[in-house]
């Protein structure tokens, strides 16, 4: 991984739902080893953008490329193979599985066991199981959840569920991680912990795309910020540049005076 190399590009990406244009020809690039934040008032199209970049939505027009290869229209499950992992705005854990099984799911694409091998419980299957559970345990240790490995995921407190979701995403060893409002509902302390962890991830050479409302977190950790309003990109730059951008201020003040 080369820090600073362009990993993902969005070219004039547009998404319409019926008559509503959620994202209106937005372009930007994601580099490895940087944290990029996607911000904007409610309904600006941040989550829609993220969903397109991870293959959940198909863009109405425009192009998405990963390492200059066009991946527009690929199915969502193929994006992991491209090196893209993500979390969700509302936590999407596999609640009926244990904590460690959730992380093991993150290792899904790293395993080869198919239906026939597993049906016969071949030795290779057992070997692979041991391998993935050990590796999953390491990921749990990184987020400090190792001691809760065999609990059901539903039983974790909310903050830990968020961290588990990130651990699951990290298990697929992505080159780019997308976090959709990772700090929503976290306490101050948990948010700090999250910030450190995200920076640690960045420092290991992974590109991180963050969508969040917590401006302090965003301004603290981001290297670059993209601002969306009504589906359009209205600004892009360092946190400092964006903060002083007049159209950004109008967009935020016009929409909601509070927050920052």
């Amino acid at each position: 991984m080369t820090t600073g190399a362009v990993f993902l590009e969005a070219h004039d990406v547009t998404k319409r739902f019926g008559g509503l244009t959620a994202v209106d020809s937005v372009s930007f690039t994601m580099k490895l080893g940087t944290i990029k934040a996607l911000i904007g008032p409610n309904g600006a199209g941040k989550s829609t953008m993220l969903n397109m970049l991870s293959g959940v939505y198909l863009p109405t027009s425009g192009r998405i490329s990963v390492r200059t290869v066009d991946v527009t229209g690929q199915q969502a499950h193929k994006f992991v193979g491209l090196g893209i992992a993500r979390t969700f705005q509302t936590v999407q854990l596999f609640g009926n599985m244990t904590v460690i099984e959730n992380v093991v799911m993150g290792l899904h694409t790293k395993c080869k066991t198919g239906i026939i091998q597993s049906a016969l419980r071949l030795p290779s299957v057992l070997r692979e199981e041991r391998m993935v559970f050990a590796s999953a345990m390491e990921h749990l240790e990184r987020v400090g959840l190792a001691d809760r490995a065999s609990e059901l995921a539903v039983n974790l407190p909310y903050g830990q569920q968020r961290m588990l979701e990130i651990a699951r995403a990290m298990a697929s060893s992505p080159e780019m991680l997308m976090l959709d409002e990772p700090a929503a509902g976290l306490s101050m302390k948990e948010t700090e912990h999250l910030a450190l962890f995200v920076q640690e991830i960045r420092d290991s050479g992974i590109g991180v795309l963050v969508v969040d409302h917590d401006m302090r977190l965003i301004m603290d950790i981001s290297d670059e910020v993209v601002v969306l309003d009504h589906g359009k990109k209205i600004a892009e730059g360092t946190p400092r540049e964006v903060q002083t951008n007049p159209s950004v201020i109008t967009a935020y003040l016009g929409e909601e005076a509070g927050d920052e």
Binding site: V56, H77, Q92, G95, E101, A119, R121, M137, V154
Partner: protein, 328 residues
């Protein structure tokens, strides 16, 4: 360090016990009727196992599963009577043909969701049954096909109920083992993941369509084997047993037994098969009683027999169960 659920160990303890009990059962039953009932419970267990994998784990409802059962039965019937192939070869081909049929049908239908999928499988089941009836040269029409040879081991023809009992339960136990392995593996986890959150499953790279079709084919294979066993047991096939009502009965077995539970499949198959025998004494009323029991079980045990009984014992053990909040 094994951090997974404790169930595997529990299961591997249960497995030999159940196996031993089943092996001993014929010695306790001095009556071919009970053995016959057990044979059908075995056949129905195989069917319910396959459908349970599909419904309980992959979350796909099929209202046409009797068709695969029928395809299995007819495959071996045709191969062994018309082509005079050996019965074991017929028995081996039946699941393959049923699996192939499941693949061909699954490719277009599994793109559908919910009730649309249910209706498509129902339609498919209807069409297959009509083909059994109308494709006279191959299937013998409604009068069916007689003269299907029995299975044999060397020179020994397995015509006796007891012998056949062991054959059926050998396959049933093997498939229980296989199903259990699948459920407790990468594939099983992926299926459970799809069931909880399709979007999250896709985000970790689970190819949902691939697993759906694989499970659909697998359940077709199970049903095909069950059908072949039926054909070599009764040694006669006709279209009637493979109709819509039996498809419904299979769904009932799975739901009553408990979805997403391997042992639930056995419980459901046993409960429904036995119930219909016990209800004989009600004569004209049996249909009414059966319907009423079904409604009551579903109202008071919506999770099915196995889960409800487990819940009940769990509740007794700890007065107040901590009901975990379901994730959004």
């Amino acid at each position: 360090m094994d951090a997974r659920s404790q169930s595997p160990r529990y299961h591997f303890l249960a497995f030999p016990i159940v196996g031993a009990l089943l092996a001993a059962l014929p010695f306790a039953l001095h009556n071919n009727y009970y053995i016959g009932v057990m044979v059908f419970i075995g056949i129905h267990t195989i069917l319910a196992l396959g459908l349970n994998l599909l419904m309980g784990y992959a979350g796909q409802v099929s209202l046409g599963h009797a068709a695969f059962y029928g395809i299995g039965a007819y495959t071996t019937a045709i191969l062994t009577t018309m082509l005079k192939w050996p019965p074991w070869v017929g028995l081996a081909c039946a699941p393959m043909v049923a699996g192939l049929a499941a693949y061909l049908i699954g490719m277009p239908t599994l793109k559908l969701k919910g009730h649309y999928l249910a209706m498509a499988t129902l339609g498919f089941g209807m069409i297959v049954k009509i083909l059994f009836v109308e494709y006279y040269p191959l299937t013998g029409g409604t009068s069916g096909m007689t003269g299907i040879p029995p299975l044999s081991l060397g020179k020994l023809q397995l015509v006796d109920d007891r012998q056949f009992y062991y054959v059926v339960w050998f396959f049933a136990l093997m498939l229980i083992w296989v199903s259990y392995n699948i459920v407790e593996s990468r594939v099983g986890r992926a299926l459970r993941a799809v069931h909880t959150s399709e979007i999250a499953a896709a985000s970790v790279g689970v190819d949902i369509a691939k697993y759906k079709i694989q499970v659909f084919v697998l359940s077709g294979v199970y049903s095909g084997l069950a059908g072949a066993l039926y054909a070599h047991y009764i040694r006669f096939v006709n279209p009637d047993p493979f109709g819509f009502m039996f498809s419904i009965q299979l769904v009932v077995m799975v739901v009553v037994g408990g979805m997403a539970s391997i042992w639930g499949a056995i419980a459901g198959a046993s409960a429904i098969t036995l119930l219909s025998q016990v209800l004989q004494r009600f004569e004209d009323y049996e249909v009414i009683v059966f319907g009423a029991i079904l409604v009551l079980v579903m109202i008071y045990m919506p999770q099915g027999l196995t889960k409800s009984i487990v819940d009940l014992t769990a509740r007794r053990r700890s007065a107040k169960p901590s009901k975990p909040e379901v994730l959004p």
